[in-house]
């Protein structure tokens, strides 16, 4: 048994042996599989067909597109950071503590994944709006008004994207088990030191892929943003919102910006290779 062997009791998929014939796929499954792939790939290819390559540089460097891109990148980065600072600790609490209602809390974390983003945006609006139970006091005491600001964009994106980080980190923590942390304690390391020296370094790969997924989700956020933050050019009109707005007037510009998002998405999948996406988490 080698040192790197996985803990007993964890299922390890058997690797295909060299020269082994693949397990056959029944015929009735092949056509639907092909259609599924076509449904994903063809529309994206259609985007490329729609755009005139000669006009692409001008369309992409237009002020509307550049402003939206800049705002998107800044807000998505801020949302990813916020998700890390808040969602990271939440993942550790969910994976490592035991308290009544833990299952319920875990279910709540999944809510934004299942909920239509528009509903999330509406919920944020009523909580933090001028007359909302939290928004009212914020305005009265601190003069803060969140809706229709860039901060609202970040909040909306965090709401929708944070569960991706929490779920992937919690899964990695559970898979790693507590064995290493117990050994660390016998070596005199308290909980905080153990977290920094043992848990965190072992979590880095999962953290990387979780952050990439979170960033990608935040970048593409539309529903919650438009409901909670509106579509104000320069302050809340992110790339997806700009695409939606432009599609009414200048279709070519909308398509060009869409291609930009497609390019970023491909980059995320090919370069960062989030494990959850590749199905070998």
């Amino acid at each position: 048994m080698r040192g790197s062997a996985p803990p007993l009791g964890r299922l390890v998929p058997r690797r295909a042996r060299e020269g082994e014939r693949p397990v056959g796929v029944p015929l009735p499954l092949r056509l639907p599989a092909l259609l599924a792939l076509a449904l994903i790939v063809l529309p994206v290819l259609g985007l490329f067909a729609r755009v005139d390559p000669a006009r692409l540089p001008t369309l992409l460097t237009g002020p509307a597109a550049l402003t939206a891109l800049g705002l998107s990148v800044r807000t998505a980065l801020a949302a990813t950071l916020l998700a890390l600072l808040l969602g990271g600790p939440l993942a550790v609490v969910l994976a490592r503590s035991r308290f009544p209602g833990l299952r319920f809390v875990r279910g709540c974390v999944l809510l934004p994944l299942v909920l239509p983003p528009v509903v999330g945006g509406l919920a944020l609006l009523y909580l933090l709006g001028r007359t909302g139970p939290l928004g009212g006091p914020l305005r009265d005491w601190f003069g803060l008004s969140l809706p229709y600001t860039t901060a609202a964009v970040v909040l909306a994106q965090t709401f929708v994207a944070m569960p991706f980080l929490v779920v992937s980190l919690e899964g990695a923590l559970r898979a790693a088990g507590t064995e290493y942390e117990r050994v660390s304690a016998t070596l005199g390391a308290g909980p905080w030191l153990t977290f920094r020296r043992v848990t965190l370094p072992m979590l880095l790969p999962a953290l990387g892929s979780g952050l990439v997924l979170t960033f990608a989700r935040a970048l593409g956020e539309f529903g919650a943003t438009i409901t909670f933050a509106g579509s104000l050019r320069g302050t809340t009109r992110t790339l997806p919102l700009a695409i939606y707005t432009e599609a009414q007037a200048d279709v070519d510009a909308a398509v060009a910006m869409s291609l930009l998002l497609v390019a970023i998405a491909l980059l995320v999948i090919l370069v960062a290779r989030p494990k959850a996406v590749e199905g070998r988490g």
């Binding site: 048994m1 117990r182 016998t186 070596l187 909980p191």
Partner: protein, 390 residues
């Protein structure tokens, strides 16, 4: 167990490592533990005491509660009732609500698997405990390298755990546990995950290292050989309770319960090492194969199973055979065979040996209790091990 009541009565401090002064007042007193812990439908209920530098083997079948005891000592599980103290400092006292967390106890743990931190090199794994104790990086690494050398893994210091074999990883894990200078060393089946080829060398290393340890050590194992080679005393657990305890040699050579006899199941001839043989204090010599070399004159034991013994009325012919003169003191059926017990030295009843022979052989030789006979065993069936002084 009257001796350890005085430990707790005068101890009044709080739950930190230095809070409670040793009750006796003269130096380290070792480990005292009384634990009652329910796990599912079985309850571990036992008490033990391990002196400084002493190795206590906890023997028993799977599910006897051996590893549960260790979880109570490390503090990863809180017993329903119990008291654990080390050198007079209280780690656990359920009545006084003292429960020192694992990282302030100073326990070193070597488990079945090495559990090396995968993101650190072998060297940094070993330096981990020193670093948490506040030692600076460079001196910590120097000391860690020294510990790697002591466990014969000095040349592996730059390797990651994934690049180590099971036996190498276990040696590094031992170095890591010892480098933290534990006040109590716990070994949880440290050899059971190793293959037949690497286990004897690791056992030999443990024996060498444990001989130099001043802290008490608790060794959990299901292998009698581990106890023979490493332990001064043994506690035999069955279904959560102690069925027998005492010095290793006595408990294994003369089990008081059938249960211990069943798990013991090995003959031991103790003496001093002399090449590929053991010389007994009364001048006898038993030849065998050397498993782990011992220096001439060091304590050693010849170990062989009762099934390897043949019984003769006269000294048998043939050079590779050992013939040990015994007086039969017991005869009982054991499955298809009959187990004979033979005393080699009436003044030391714990040196009795067992032989499993067929009923036909017993009838043919007309064996009776009290007869003077020879137990013969081939040298190839005998393993020579260096042993602890117990």
């Amino acid at each position: 167990m009257a001796e350890h009541t005085d430990d707790a009565t005068s101890a009044t401090g709080r739950s930190s490592r230095e809070a409670v002064a040793p009750a006796s007042g003269h130096g380290p007193t070792g480990l005292t533990a009384e634990v009652r812990l329910r796990r599912g439908d079985f309850t571990l209920d036992m008490a033990c005491r391990v002196r400084p530098g002493e190795v206590l083997a906890v023997l028993g079948p799977n599910g006897a509660g051996k590893s549960t005891l260790l979880t109570a000592l490390t503090g990863s599980v809180r017993p329903e009732r119990g008291r654990v103290s080390l050198d007079g400092r209280t780690w656990l006292d359920t009545e006084r609500r003292i429960d020192v967390p694992t990282h302030r106890r100073g326990v070193g743990l070597l488990a079945q698997r090495a559990v090396l931190f995968p993101h650190l090199t072998a060297l940094d794994n070993v330096a981990f405990g020193l670093r948490t104790a506040g030692v600076r990086r460079r001196p910590a690494r120097r000391a860690a390298l020294e510990w790697l050398r002591r466990t014969d893994t000095g040349e592996l210091s730059d390797r990651r755990p994934a690049e180590l074999s099971g036996g190498q990883a276990q040696r590094v894990a031992l170095a890591r546990a010892l480098a933290a200078d534990p006040e109590l060393l716990l070994l949880d089946e440290p050899l059971s995950a190793l293959d037949v080829a690497t286990a004897p060398a690791m056992r030999g290393l443990l024996r060498r290292v444990l001989g130099e340890q001043r802290s008490p050590c608790v060794l959990v194992t299901h292998d009698v050989l581990d106890a023979v080679v490493l332990a001064d005393r043994v506690v035999v657990l069955d279904r959560g309770g102690v069925v027998e305890q005492g010095r290793t040699r006595r408990v294994l050579a003369r089990p008081r319960t059938a249960f211990t006899a069943r798990i013991a199941g090995l003959n031991l001839v103790n003496g001093s090492a002399a090449g590929d043989s053991v010389e007994t204090p009364r001048g006898g010599v038993v030849h065998g194969g050397v498993v782990e070399p011992a220096g001439r004159g060091e304590p050693a034991a010849a170990v062989f199973p009762p099934t390897a013994v043949a019984v003769h009325r006269e000294v048998p012919e043939g050079s590779p055979r050992n013939a040990i003169p015994v007086r039969l003191v017991g005869m009982e059926p054991r499955g298809d065979a009959i187990r004979l017990r033979g005393e080699t030295d009436p003044s030391e009843p714990e040196t009795a040996l067992a032989a499993d022979v067929t009923p036909a052989a017993v009838a043919e030789l007309g064996l009776r209790v009290g007869d003077e006979v020879f137990f013969a065993v081939k040298a190839t069936e005998v393993a020579i091990h260096p042993v602890s002084d117990g």
